[in-house]
């Protein structure tokens, strides 16, 4: 467990890197936006520097070229929580319609050009309001912070490690709770509750079941049956950071065919891991996985619509290396965290899942999730 001093030092170092990048780009200041919509699909740039998730609907961090940023959040009643969680001294909580003017006030001393990050999630009306309040057009700097966040800091890695441990507990709960007649959404509720008790504050969780799954999906009201293949994508969030575990669980003894095909996934997974070393493009992971599955006669199932990606970045939303596909080009560096998942639809068995969150080390990937790599099942 990291001490609060270490956390603040880590956050100060991040701020230093961001301000250095601002200077390189000649920015007189930087506005970072986050809405109340938290997503795995984009990075929460405010969380990266302020260490607090905005309740919303809007939050803006005003980053000067030197010195500490000012955090402005909504709604007004959330001040005490934000004040307690962030290391930043300057915090304001206001109502949404007051926010543009407050941002403009805090940005008034910042010279042009002003950079803007996080606008992928900024609604049009808020963008117009903040533009009008500023009286100038900020320059697109949406990539500035994500480009600096490719490798995890010690604090980030510690949190992802905790999230990964919670994912392991979530899967244990799935194994214990799964039984015939339990409904899918009831099983999901048990997994969810176990992970909340373990410290999860959110979860990108999907649990589906059936004799022959087409893909992973949201839980439905269907009752589990003997022989069901349960696929789980479990992605708890701990202090803003996500880790993911993908596994397959059979309610009954696996058939020889299921065992054989899951062995194929495990071989593909190992091939993907072997390609996950610093200095190599992330696309090599996807190509290594596809080569193993393709060689077994399933090349057409390694493409859409059956398969989209062989993994993706994890941590604070989407950062480098983003999705792992055949043609993805980001070069792997030490400290990157992502999931490698050769999840696969096979016509013989249906969709099966396998995947772990890893951190890239000098000699290859280290698994952060600890659930052993195998096919899971229990007598039903």
């Amino acid at each position: 467990m990291l001490a609060q001093n270490d956390v603040v030092a880590d956050l100060r170092a991040r701020l230093g890197r961001v301000q250095a990048a601002m200077a390189e780009r000649g920015l007189g200041g930087l506005l970072l936006y986050a809405s109340g919509q938290h997503t795995m699909l984009r990075m929460d740039q405010i969380m990266y520097l302020a260490d607090v998730r905005v309740l919303g609907p809007h939050g803006v961090l005003v980053v000067p070229p030197r010195g500490e940023p000012t955090l402005l959040v909504t709604p007004a009643w959330d001040y005490a929580r934000v004040r307690e969680l962030t290391w930043l001294a300057a915090v304001e909580a206001v109502e949404p319609d007051e926010l543009p003017e407050r941002v403009a006030l805090h940005a008034s001393d910042l010279k042009d050009p002003l950079g803007l990050g996080g606008q992928q999630g900024m609604p049009a009306a808020f963008a117009r309001a903040i533009g009008a309040a500023l009286g100038r057009e900020p320059r697109d700097a949406d990539d500035l912070v994500p480009d600096l966040a490719a490798a995890r800091t010690p604090v980030e890695l510690e949190r992802i490690r905790r999230a990964a441990a919670i994912a392991d507990q979530g899967f244990q709960a799935l194994c214990q709770a799964a039984e015939p007649s339990l409904r899918e959404h009831e099983l999901a509720a048990e997994v969810e509750a176990a992970m909340i008790r373990a410290g999860a504050e959110d979860n990108f969780g999907l649990i589906g079941a059936g004799a022959h799954n087409i893909a992973i999906r949201a839980p439905q009201h269907r009752a589990l049956e003997r022989g069901d293949v349960i696929v789980g994508e479990i992605t708890p969030c701990y202090q803003g950071y996500l880790a993911q575990l993908c596994r397959t669980f059979i309610l009954g003894e696996p058939t020889p065919l299921q065992r054989e095909k899951y062995d194929l996934l495990m071989r593909a997974y190992e091939a993907g891991r072997a390609a996950a070393v610093p200095g190599r493009p992330s696309g090599e992971i996807a190509r290594a996985i596809n080569e193993v599955i393709g060689a077994a006669g399933y090349a057409e199932y390694c493409r859409p619509p059956y398969m989209r990606t062989r993994g993706h970045s994890l941590g604070l939303g989407a950062v480098v290396p983003y999705d792992l596909t055949d043609d993805s080009s980001p070069v792997l560096v030490e400290g990157m965290t992502f999931i490698i998942h050769p999840n696969q639809y096979l016509p013989d068995t249906g969709y099966m899942m396998l995947g772990d969150t890893v951190v890239i080390r000098a000699d290859g990937p280290e698994s952060l999730t600890q659930t052993p790599v195998r096919l899971y099942w229990k007598d039903a």
Partner: protein
């Protein structure tokens, strides 16, 4: 009430047609298409995301769980829904909506431009619902740039008026959601005790709602000293004997939201806490009495604030004004917060058939506080509670 939004709506996701029959949707579409023609528009473009999906769900029953969806409603004929899934997931997506023409998108602007051109609307007048308020500015700018000859005009108000009045089916689904909230508060009472953390309490509440088929479940809490400060998402704080616990819970079932809350005390409540809880209860009762069709929404706030004057000395000094910052009342249905918001001076008239969530949160001195909530339905004569039985405002545990 605003809560911390999740990265994914991850509860049971199905269309329970016994609760929300397909027959509900053709008349809604017909009404909207009539409004489109009356406005001399050629179509409406309706956007919704996991945060604000009510307009899209009203016409389609579709529930976006992560990324947004775009609905094109022509003045006549069938609508088209663009959803952010892969083509393999379209059959599953179609089980969640009455719309026949459901198409996948990877990049929304390009697909939207193509669709509008395909429908012969590249030179048309298109009404906008939820676009400015929710669609990302970059996406919207690209769509406009790709269709320079379209005349875009706001159309949000019409759909909001149609949605304000809840029919019998909607009331039934809202009651179901309210039942999930009631059961979750009962689960909280069961779980509450010294030593349990806020997070463990959340686990019990969340489990109750999700096992009851909630599509989404939310919770805010203020315990111990925080009861005198503000609500927040639960964390690891362990509850202690004598703690006041303010608990706000929200559940979504078949796209419809319900809210509720209670004040718990781990032990016997002291006189000030009782006074705060009584004031909160009376403020909710005053709002219920003031709620009638035609009355301005602000009348509810006036009624509540008049009741709360006497309790002002008990409120924590620095936070005395915050009881109104949560909002005292708002519409509720397909979105957790719908118009009108009951703020002082708000002149929007209340309409018959609307459903309002009332909540009074009081933060007192020395970790005291109280929270009272009620959901009401407006009929011809006034307001009645959505659920027949009312939960007590103050519950002493242990």
């Amino acid at each position: 009430m605003q809560t911390l939004h999740t990265v994914l709506k991850r509860g049971g996701l199905v269309w329970v047609q016994d609760d929300v029959p397909t027959a509900l949707f053709p008349p809604r579409l017909a009404q909207v298409q009539q409004a489109i023609r009356a406005a001399d528009h050629d179509a409406w473009l309706v956007y919704g995301d996991a945060y604000r999906y009510g307009d899209v769900a009203y016409l389609t029953h579709f529930l976006p769980r992560v990324r947004g969806v775009l609905l094109l409603v022509p003045a006549a004929g069938e609508p088209t829904l663009l959803v952010a899934v892969g083509s393999r997931d379209i059959p599953a997506a179609k089980t969640l909506t009455c719309v026949e023409d459901v198409r996948p998108y990877t990049r929304l602007p390009g697909e939207a431009v193509s669709l509008i051109r395909e429908r012969g609307l590249a030179h048309g007048r298109v009404g906008l619902v939820g676009i400015e308020e929710a669609l990302a500015v970059g996406d919207w700018d690209q769509i406009r740039a790709g269709l320079p000859d379209v005349r875009w005009e706001p159309a949000d108000d019409t759909l909001a008026r149609l949605r304000a009045r809840k029919d019998a089916t909607e009331l039934s689904v809202l009651r179901h959601a309210a039942g999930l909230v009631r059961d979750a508060l009962a689960a909280a009472r069961e779980a509450l005790g010294p030593g349990i953390s806020e997070r463990e309490l959340l686990a019990a509440v969340d489990r109750s709602m999700r096992r009851g088929a909630a599509e989404d479940a939310r919770c805010l809490i203020a315990s111990g000293p925080r009861a005198g400060v503000s609500l927040r998402p639960p964390d690891d704080r362990a509850l202690e004997p004598g703690d006041v616990v303010l608990l706000h819970v929200a559940a979504e079932y078949q796209r419809y939201w319900a809210e509720g809350g209670q004040t718990f005390v781990l032990g016997a409540a002291d006189a000030d806490t009782r006074a705060l809880a009584d004031a909160a209860r009376r403020a909710v009762a005053a709002m219920t009495a003031a709620a009638r069709p035609g009355a301005p929404a602000g009348a509810l706030a006036d009624a509540a604030l008049a009741t709360l004057k006497g309790v002002q000395p008990l409120l924590s000094t620095q936070h005395s004004a915050l009881s109104t910052h949560y909002g005292l009342a708002h519409g509720i249905g397909l979105d957790v917060e719908e118009p009108p918001a009951a703020r002082p001076g708000e002149n929007t008239p209340l309409v018959e058939g609307s459903v309002l969530a009332l909540h009074v949160v009081l933060h007192g001195r020395d970790g005291r506080g109280a929270l009272a909530e009620q959901t009401i339905v407006l009929d011809g004569s006034g307001a009645r509670p959505l659920l027949a039985e009312s939960a007590p405002t103050l519950v002493e545990c242990g």
